[in-house]
């Protein structure tokens, strides 16, 4: 397995996440700052879908719920 090295840029107070400690499933993530969510949403989503930027400048907070997770 090739290991990539990263440095952290940090981002205090921007992202809230919660996982089920029994199953390990992500229950929700909440983004408090919305001008460019590609910086805080999982890079798996941004890169997989080739989304350059997506945004919601209208709501105070966006909750992203995972629907019908099957595993």
């Amino acid at each position: 397995m090739m290991v990539k090295e990263y440095v952290s840029i940090g981002f205090p107070d921007l992202l809230s996440v919660a996982y089920d400690r029994k199953t390990g499933l992500l229950l929700y993530l909440s983004v408090g700052a919305l001008l460019d969510m590609t910086y805080v949403l999982p890079s798996v989503i941004v890169r997989t879908f080739g989304i350059t930027q997506y945004s919601n400048t209208l709501l105070n907070q966006v909750w992203i719920k995972l629907l019908d997770v099957e595993f």
Binding site: M1, V3, S8, R47, Y54, N56, N60, K65
Partner: protein, 289 residues
């Protein structure tokens, strides 16, 4: 009217971004996003997963080379260099393969797209603390201090002793009690800080200021950081506690170092290579990164 006026303003501003590869770009402003994840196959320690994004009530601007096109419930307008659509629903699906041990995720073309953060692995769950790589930027290649580093990342520190303050009702109706949730409301605070210029005469005073600075050390394990002074730079090392207690050997990435400056005179965090102003609406605080 206000809704779409705001969307238009946003898209117009973004279209003027010179760094955007407009042919392959996709920009979406929306009201709500649903992420639907379904495992379609599992072999050994890998799972093949179908990920579907459903955006509602929004507007999308798409480069002409973007492929495959999303499904929308309206039509695309040809605007010359790009397509434009105002939609009620925009749906996109992709297949990815997830390594269930390391979390490394690969798309259909074989490209590594980051750590799969939608499930904690067994390695994550059995530790008291772990780090998750939520966002990364490979384009930021850093020479630090003598080695070449692939990129910069936003890491989430997940402490299993942190519980949520409320129950969570899943879409299925199932309720996850607050005390069963592992909750984090902080992304990674920087582990190390470089402060400059600091004269030799000021070192003692600056260390005193930093030692009393709750902004730097909140939610940390109570241990004094290490201070090193050299050539006008004061370096604060406080990552040794975490790095000694968290096993990251199974990850497909390696945490190297924080590359962060603190401007102690105005008590504001500034990240290198990051120019975006981010407003946190809930608390009305402006983070100038």
């Amino acid at each position: 009217m206000l809704l779409y006026r705001d969307y238009w303003e946003y898209l117009r501003d973004f279209s003027e971004n010179p760094s955007l590869d407009k042919g392959k770009a996709l920009v979406i402003a929306f009201n709500r996003l649903y992420i639907d994840i379904c495992v379609v196959d599992r072999r050994d320690d890998c799972a093949k997963v179908n990920v579907t994004l459903t955006f509602t009530d929004g507007i999308a601007k798409m480069g002409k080379e973007y492929s495959p096109k999303p499904k929308i419930d309206s039509s695309w307008s040809n605007k010359g260099d790009y397509y434009l659509s105002v939609f009620n629903k925009l749906i996109m699906s992709r297949i990815v393969t997830v390594d269930l041990c390391s979390g490394e995720t690969v798309d259909e073309s074989g490209r590594k797209v980051g750590e799969w953060v939608f499930w904690l692995s067994q390695n994550d769950l059995k530790q008291e603390c772990t780090l998750l790589l939520y966002s990364l930027a490979d384009t930021h290649v850093v020479e630090y201090p003598s080695k070449r580093i692939n990129g910069q990342a936003t890491l989430i520190l997940l402490n299993s002793s942190n519980t949520a303050d409320r129950d969570f009702r899943m879409s299925s109706g199932k309720v996850i009690p607050a005390n069963r949730q592992i909750y984090s409301n902080k992304s990674m605070l920087p582990f190390s800080s470089i402060i400059y210029p600091v004269s030799e005469g000021d070192v003692k005073r600056v260390i005193q200021v930093l030692s009393n600075c709750s902004c730097l050390y909140r939610q940390r394990i109570a241990i004094k950081p290490l201070f090193k002074y050299k050539d006008g730079k004061l370096i604060v090392h406080d990552d040794r506690v975490f790095l000694s207690s968290i096993d990251l050997s199974y990850k497909s990435w390696e945490y190297v170092h924080s590359l962060v400056e603190y401007n102690y005179s105005i008590n504001l965090c500034r990240e290198c290579d990051f120019q975006l102003n981010v407003t946190e609406y809930i608390r009305g605080v402006l983070y100038d990164g």
